[in-house]
Symmetry: C2
Subunit: 520 residues, 2 copies
């Protein structure tokens, strides 16, 4: 194993290998040029599949055995069921029962409901996770207890990794709220409806074996087919694949915190004054309480000025669907639905369109949608004085969040981070972030309850905001104000052990996360 470290383009030390595979350190935005060809699945033949199209097998265990499950394989699942997923745990329960060892779990995201996975890491069934390690899995990993090194990717980076062959999926297990015996599947109907299945697209296209698991089997054809049965090997029926009330469990409460409301208002005012809210514009807000409030402010500005947005990006929720139905937004291009209004709208409204990480975020494509979006509102756990930002670790060093689409969205024309100046008396703006997830050159505006900082690279926005009554400050001023109140924060204490790598959208490594020193 090669233990040397190299400093990457944002100054972070990157090991030569992760999980025994060589890695490429981050070179700068747009600087890494991929070489070669996409990965190519084996050519299949209809001669090997039932001529009547009926691919059902008796159960998930049989499907996994038929798919040839073996030690060391990579098994993928998707996260459209969010905290209500019942399938991923079941896959590894069966694998453990079969005595399979050292699997790699490659989810599109993980949730607290996946805490049982810790047991399968402890009993040797799972070697490591490539995907977000939210909550309990993150703590377990941050304590150095996972056998391998976690690999975090953005939604687009996950598609890129599969497409480029960086990750080879041996078996994809795609939980589907509705499916037919041929394997066509969707997320808009059935008792476990989750809206769409876009996060499983790469898995269906590139995995060696694809298993569709459903609790709502319909006769062929399952319409719409968000996942195409032509990629599917086996279809399995299960009693229940998800807990409905936990599937659509996005944060769909508008914030009641006066500080958060003020940040939301400032953000919307900034966008209006800077001329970003104009006829035919586009935006992506998100599902947090502050983001929801920003959406509501946007709607007010649009109504007042008679402005229509050409499209909004989801995650969708009631508020965005209302804007669509009111005609304030012509289209929702949606990557995941966060509530039942989102699911219903996607099912019934042709202007509410399901997307995938391929269309929206894959950096190794001929363009993607991210750069087309005018305004994107994102969160961060920390931002540094050079606008670099962190979304995966907290200031105490624990890895508690995935990247999601965050890195991909940084390619939007105007990237705004509305964040509180401090959380639990810990300043959010720092000299250096604990983990760099996004380079500062892509982050344009920081909005806090004490003022707005514009990245000096955005001379156009600075010019436009001259004479504004909004509290425009430098990021240094904001940091000083926070430190005047909370004091200068102590950096997190780590051991030398790398417990996770953070990939950039092009597959290079932008930072690593180390084991937390629990004695510190």
């Amino acid at each position: 194993m090669n233990n040397t470290f190299t400093k990457n383009a944002v100054g972070r030390m990157i090991p030569a290998e992760i999980n025994g595979k060589p890695v490429i350190p981050f070179k700068g935005v747009g600087k890494h040029r991929p070489e070669g060809r996409k990965t190519a699945p084996m050519i299949a033949t209809c001669a090997d599949y039932p001529s009547d199209g009926d691919k059902r097998v008796a159960g998930l265990k049989e499907a996994l055995v038929k798919a040839g499950i073996q030690n060391g394989m990579t098994i993928s699942t998707h996260h459209h069921f969010r905290n209500g997923d019942l399938v991923a745990n079941e896959v590894f329960r069966i694998a453990s029962e079969l005595g399979i060892r050292d699997l790699v779990w490659f989810p599109s995201a993980s949730f607290p409901c996946h805490e049982p996975i810790i047991g399968y890491m402890e009993d040797g069934t799972i070697h490591h996770i490539e995907g977000s390690m939210n909550g309990p899995l993150g703590r377990f990993t941050s304590r150095g207890k996972m056998k391998g090194v976690g690999v975090l990717r953005s939604h687009g980076g996950r598609y890129q990794a599969v497409q480029d062959g960086d990750v080879h999926i041996d078996i994809a297990v795609i939980a589907a709220p509705t499916a037919d015996p041929f394997g066509n599947a969707n997320g808009v109907t059935g008792s476990s409806a989750c809206g769409l299945l876009g996060f499983a697209l790469a898995d269906s296209q590139y995995a060696d074996r694809v298993i569709v698991v459903t609790d709502n089997l319909v006769p062929f054809p399952c319409i719409p087919w968000q996942i195409q049965g032509n990629y599917v090997d086996y279809v399995v029926e299960m009693d229940q694949i998800g807990v409905p009330e936990k599937i659509v469990s996005g944060t769909t409460q508008v914030t009641k915190s006066p500080d958060r409301l003020y940040i939301a208002e400032l953000t919307a005012q900034f966008c209006e004054e800077a001329g970003l809210i104009r006829e035919g514009f586009s935006f992506q807000a998100g599902a947090g309480g502050t983001s929801l409030s920003i959406g509501i402010y946007f709607a007010e500005i649009m109504r007042r000025n008679g402005i229509k947005a050409r499209f909004a990006r989801g995650g969708s929720n009631k508020y965005l669907v209302d804007m669509l139905e009111e005609g304030l937004v012509e289209y929702i291009l949606d990557g995941q639905t966060f509530d039942l209004d989102g699911v219903r709208s996607m099912r019934d409204n042709p202007r509410h369109v399901n997307t995938s990480p391929f269309t929206s975020y894959n950096y190794h494509g001929k363009g993607n949608f991210a750069g087309i979006v005018d305004i994107v509102i994102l969160g961060a756990t920390e931002v540094d004085v050079n606008y670099n930002a962190n979304v995966v670790t907290h200031s105490d060093g624990y890895l508690l969040h995935g990247i999601g689409g965050w890195q991909n969205c940084l390619f939007s024309k105007n990237v705004i981070l509305p964040i509180p100046l401090f959380r639990d008396r810990v300043p959010v703006i720092r000299d250096e972030v604990t983990t760099i997830c996004g380079p500062g050159e892509l982050i344009d505006i920081i909005v806090t309850e004490r003022g707005i900082a514009i990245n000096p690279r955005r001379k156009d926005l600075i010019e436009k905001m001259k004479g504004s009554k909004l509290p425009i400050k430098t990021i240094g001023q904001l940091k000083e104000e926070a430190e005047a109140i909370c004091g200068v924060p102590k950096p997190a204490a780590f051991t030398e052990k790398v417990i996770a790598a953070v990939k950039w959208v092009d597959g290079t490594v932008i930072d690593v996360v180390r084991q937390v020193r629990e004695d510190a």
Copy 2:
């Protein structure tokens, strides 16, 4: 060049090479096992594409030059505009003007409107065509005038060939009735609406460079995106890409010929008596006059017996759309729309679903839709006593038709060929067909105005029809009746020169077509 010939599994002599490339002779249905991996396109990067998603260039010539057009390249187009296509001819006009030579034209089908292509074959711009050579192009080819050898594939075989890397598309030109600057495109809206763009799917996924040409540019996003902009390199606006009245020019006249009407009635009666028209069944009829009549008889039977079809396969037309709207058919799964009712229905009715050769016909997939269909009604120019059938040449030897989806549809559960016993006093049932396009083992029933022949392999159907009042005969009897009226037909006269190869759905060669002896 290797000039040896080998006899294939249906007894036809197949050359070792075609256009300098080795070929595999047909081995029997389901006998050829593909090896290796699908072809893999180069990995692209967003860094090479406009960050705002605007891929427009000034014109088709500029796009072709930017795409790197060179001698010997393969250029593809699709045929959704049918006889109203204005784009393919323009591509080769520009190529000729640029002095490019020896191109391969790889259309999904050709039509009489493409007669100008003959000029580009004569001036050396085009070396040969891989795709149907209908009408004038077929006569030109049958006279031995094309520089290379034509290669005929079914719609599914075309997808297979691209997917497997048998055909490498250098530049795909996708004419789109509606598109946005990112390259998202569809066929359901715009003045040149043709319904869908499924025949261009493989081209978009696998070509090195993809050019979308449109006469109806809309702001991003173009919804629906039947072609995804993430595969597209350049977008070009043209004044007009198709002649609307020639785009939707399917044969949508119900036959008035008493013989044809009788054949249609016999076919429908046979299906009813054999129990093939049952609750939840599926069928694919087609657009010819006889097929339309069969559809109308089916509708009557279904109404009378209170039967609903789960789905019908398109090509769609007014009659099929009426059945959908009446509720006789739950879904139309459609590969091409033949009239404006088809276009409208596909645009507005979520139960009228666009499909592609990938979903419907690709034999080198994990199954496809063809085998799921209960009844398929197909045509043929000739059938032999072993039920082998021909769809590409006439009995005079001229290559005048493409294969279309015909070979793919042979995998349906019940394949019925309603054909006249003779055409222009030439018997249609022969000892040997001029060109074998489909092996007899896949063809179940021949319906003529003088009787119905059931393939002896279908003991189940023979059993079911015992005691029927329908004129069930052997195929030998039918041949004798025809010859009693018209005499024994003379086989077509050919030179030794192979002018086209007919591929089977798995990429093997099932037959070749030779130059017609015009002195014969």
